[in-house]
Every structure is written in structure tokens, then in C-alpha cells.
């Protein structure tokens, strides 16, 4: 066992909360060039904490980019797939940045902070590439500023998340962002997340990271708030069928193939990658990202396992795990279009043995929303 476990390379970056992770005896792993907690106690326990109470995640590794200037609204709209014109000040949207061939460079959330100012939250492993791509296309009247080193960030997710935040003031509604203060730390708080639960993402100065982390843990004590690592983050997002860039999204897959068409406005003036997507929309897709589920007592599916129907290989998994909530194996994978409908019987090849599975409707987990 563990033959493949390499020692931690010293060039990995650490977040301003690294000391807190050590103090909590987190198990650390390399993720996207960062040394991050994979769990503190156990992935299953942390997963259940988020589904039943609340969990707090260090997401300081993610990137923050500010875009501003008189030409920013028009220019940024040409760089991203969703329609920025629909955003009121203080509102955010999930969107994608594509290459010239319509492939995904990154998926991100863009918030409109003012008439001509935007705040982008991007994937940790893509900060350098994203900023370079934006700067390469930058025009007069637009400024692009990488603020990633200045910010620390946490996500607080779960049914009790709002109770943890209630002392901060009037909370933002879904997909909105606002300015708050916790102790002496100023922060931006957005009602967004990557778990399928209600929750918040808070961005604050890196030098206040430890203070804010401890303050949240204290505020959350009565609400069952548990520190959670990337392991639970992955099982939670997979149940909710949120794609992970680098696994489910790549430079060779388009948002239409990934089933993210509602975050693409094909009708807006123009954006990078639009031609490919228009062509795909017209001629039809050849493959699509689907959710799959295995029956109980099957081995957990993993990325790159082949998917087949009878003797034909029709695709492969891009993500997979044992779902802690459903108690069965679940995954995401690209399959040829004729096999992409929910209910389709498929087989997953696990170490040379085929196990039956089905294509399922997304998401695989949806929280109960009362009232």
C-alpha cells in the first residue's frame, strides 16, 4: 500500500490558514499546486456535518481577480459565456471562460461590485493561466488585477450556515455578495457554494485569516460547525453534480457537452469560443457529461474507468466516488449522445470487471427546501 504516495514537494503553496490546519492535525495533500487539508477527522464525518449541520472549508487557494474600468462591462462580457448585462450591482453568476475552440479554460463566479467593477473567483490551479489569458486580451479602458495573494477565504456550508452568519447583519440572498465586518476584519460575503447546501463564501485580508477562521469556529460551535477538507468538498460537489475543472471540464470539452448550456448566452453579441458553440448547437452534440449511479455493494467508480454498453465502449468517467449520502457509487462521465438519457443501462469497467450502472438525472442529491 501507499506505494504511489509521493513525499510532499517543497514547492507547494500554503494558504494563510496552514498553521490552523496543523493545529487541528489535518491530513494534508497536494491539490492544484497547493498543500491543503484532505480531512481533519474523516471524509464521511465531514460530509455528514455539511449535509446535517454546517462545515467550514479553507478556500484561500482559490483566486480573486478584480476587473474594472469604463470598458470593463463590454469587454468582460466578450471573455465569458454567461450574460453579464443581467447582473445588478451586488449580484453574481456562474460562468465560463473559453479558449478559441470553445474548450473550457476555467469555470468561475463573477460578481458585479459597481457599475464598471467586477470580482472574479477562479480555480486555484488556473489563476496564472486565467490572468494571462485576460491580460493577453485586455483592451484600453480595462484594468485586470490579480488579488489572489491579498485574500484569504472560507466557505461555510450546510443547513445551519445562515445561523453561523446571522450576527454579521442582513445576509445576502442566493448568488449575491455584500460587505461585512467580523471583529476587525472587513470581508466580502457571498451566498454561494459548491456543496448543494445553503451556504456562504467569505473573502477577507490574508493577514486576518487565522482570526476570522477561529471567530467562525466559535460562532459555529452551537450549530455543529466542523472544519472540513477537500475530501468532503469533492464528495459533496459530486452528489450535487457540480463539475470540477481539470477533471470534468478541460480545454477539449465545451460547456454544452458538459451540460452547462444555461450558463452560456449564445445570443449575446460575441464571446470567445462562441463560433464552436453555435456550430455544436446547430449540428448537435456527439457526447455529453452524464451522472451515473451503481447499485449497492458495487466498487466505487473512479476517474478514467471505461463506460460501455454491450461490447461498445461509449465513454469514460471523469469523476467518481462512494456517495456518503446515497451509500452507493456515483460519478460523472462523458458518453456518446445516444446513451446519454437518464435511465440508460451502462456498465462500468472496474479493474477489468464490468459492473452494471445507470445514467441518472442530475443532480444526484438535492436538498429539501422548506417554505
Amino acid at each position: 500500500m501507499f506505494a504511489a504516495m509521493a513525499p510532499t514537494p517543497s514547492e507547494l503553496q500554503r494558504t494563510p490558514l496552514y498553521g490552523e490546519h496543523l493545529r487541528l492535525r489535518a491530513k494534508l495533500i497536494a491539490f492544484g499546486g497547493w498543500e491543503m487539508p484532505v480531512y481533519y477527522t474523516s471524509i464521511l464525518e465531514e460530509h455528514q456535518a455539511v449535509r446535517q449541520h454546517a462545515g467550514i472549508f479553507d478556500i484561500s487557494h482559490m483566486g480573486e481577480v478584480e476587473i474594472s474600468g469604463p470598458k470593463a462591462p463590454e469587454w468582460l462580457n466578450s471573455m465569458l459565456t454567461n450574460n453579464l448585462d443581467r447582473l445588478s450591482i451586488g449580484e453574481g453568476q456562474y460562468t465560463l471562460m473559453l479558449n478559441d475552440h470553445g474548450g473550457v479554460i476555467d469555470d468561475l463566479i463573477v460578481y458585479r461590485r459597481s457599475e464598471t467593477g467586477y470580482f472574479l473567483v477562479v480555480n486555484a490551479a488556473k489563476i496564472v493561466e486565467d490572468v494571462a489569458w485576460l491580460q493577453d486580451h485586455q483592451v484600453e479602458g480595462v484594468s485586470v488585477s490579480d488579488q489572489s495573494q491579498l485574500f484569504a477565504a472560507v466557505a461555510v456550508q450546510g443547513p445551519n450556515a445562515a445561523k453561523v452568519f446571522q450576527t454579521l447583519g442582513e445576509l445576502p440572498t442566493r448568488n449575491h455578495i455584500g460587505k461585512f465586518k467580523l471583529g476587525s476584519a472587513p470581508m466580502l460575503v457571498a451566498r454561494t457554494g459548491y456543496t448543494g447546501e445553503d451556504g456562504f463564501e467569505a473573502f477577507f485580508p490574508a493577514e486576518t485569516a487565522a482570526e476570522v477562521w477561529c471567530a467562525f469556529l466559535e460562532l459555529g460551535q452551537a450549530e455543529g460547525l466542523a472544519p472540513c477538507g477537500l475530501g468532503a468538498r469533492d464528495t459533496l460537489r459530486l452528489e450535487a453534480c457540480y463539475p470540477l475543472n481539470g477533471s470534468d471540464l478541460s480545454a477539449d470539452t465545451t460547456p454544452l457537452e458538459a451540460g452547462l448550456g444555461i450558463f452560456v448566452d449564445l445570443k449575446k453579441t460575441s464571446f470567445i469560443g462562441q463560433e464552436t458553440l453555435l456550430r455544436q448547437a446547430e449540428t448537435g452534440l456527439t457526447r455529453r457529461l452524464v451522472a451515473v449511479k451503481l447499485p449497492p455493494k458495487s466498487p466505487p467508480p473512479r476517474p478514467h474507468y471505461p463506460i460501455s454498453v454491450e461490447t461498445e465502449v461509449i465513454g469514460e468517467l471523469t469523476s467518481g466516488t462512494q456517495s456518503p449520502t446515497l451509500g452507493v457509487g456515483i460519478g460523472l462521465g462523458y458518453v456518446k449522445i445516444p446513451f446519454a438519457k437518464p435511465g440508460q443501462a451502462i456498465e462500468i469497467d472496474v479493474r477489468g470487471r464490468k459492473f452494471p450502472a445507470t445514467v441518472e438525472k442530475k443532480p444526484l442529491y438535492k436538498r429539501n427546501v422548506s417554505a
Binding site: 500500500m1 501507499f2 484532505v38 474523516s42 471524509i43 464521511l44 475530501g231 466505487p300 462512494q322
Partner: protein, 127 residues
């Protein structure tokens, strides 16, 4: 970390309990703690031949699949069927109900490369 005195250990974190010609195999307390949350175990078939230091089983946590190597060579005589319904036994009782499989040791099986408890403790840095 529990490291019972009466077992032999492989460098790859499997244990074997030798009883005359039968060896019972499992993974160590240290190994289960590192893997956490075991959700699936793939065992060899009864009658299969396993070879020391070669892959013989797979243990899967939420996060990853890990190969388990046979600490000794021989023929599989029995597998722990309970693990199909309760794979977490490997976490909760790695030296008891969480055993994986039994092998009939090969004639003249070489056990000299296996570690005793003290040597394994030193390897994992346990007290």
C-alpha cells in the same frame, strides 16, 4: 497505533498471523487509519494462488483504491465474506473481524523478510 506482538508485518502495511500452515492476512491499524473510511473490499477467490509482494486484494476508501499485497505466498483457503456488507470492519477491527483472507502457506515459505512488531513499530514511527 496498535501493533500486536504475535503478528508478522510486511513493509507495505499488511499483517499475517501464522498458525501452523495457515496464514491469516489483514492490514494494520496504521494502514486503516491512513486510508480512513473503507467503503469497499475486493478479495481474491478461494483457490487462487497469491505470491508474496504481489497484489492480492484491493481496499477502497472514499478517496482512493489501494492495492493490498500478499505478505506470504500460498493458496487462498478462505476469504472474509462479512466485508461485503461491512467493509468498515477493516477500520474498526483491523486485527480481528476486519481480516481479509487466509492462505495455505507454500511448502518451505520464506518468512524471513517479514518484520516483527518492534521492527514494524520502528518503521511507522510508533512508540
Amino acid at each position: 497505533m496498535l501493533v500486536p506482538e504475535d503478528l508478522k508485518y510486511a513493509e507495505t502495511h499488511e499483517w499475517v498471523r501464522i498458525d501452523k500452515t495457515i496464514g491469516t492476512v489483514g492490514i494494520t491499524d496504521h494502514a486503516q487509519a491512513e486510508l480512513t473510511d473503507i467503503v469497499y473490499v475486493e478479495l481474491p477467490k478461494v483457490g487462487a494462488k497469491v505470491t508474496a509482494k504481489q497484489q492480492a486484494a484491493v481496499v477502497e476508501s472514499v478517496k482512493a483504491a489501494s492495492d493490498i499485497y500478499a505478505p506470504v505466498s500460498g493458496e487462498v483457503t478462505e476469504v472474509n465474506g462479512q466485508l461485503e456488507n461491512s467493509p468498515a470492519l477493516v477500520n474498526t477491527a483491523p486485527y480481528a473481524e476486519g481480516w481479509l483472507f487466509k492462505v495455505k502457506l507454500e511448502e518451505g515459505a520464506d518468512l524471513s523478510e517479514l518484520k516483527d512488531a518492534a521492527a514494524y513499530r520502528a518503521q511507522i514511527g510508533a512508540e
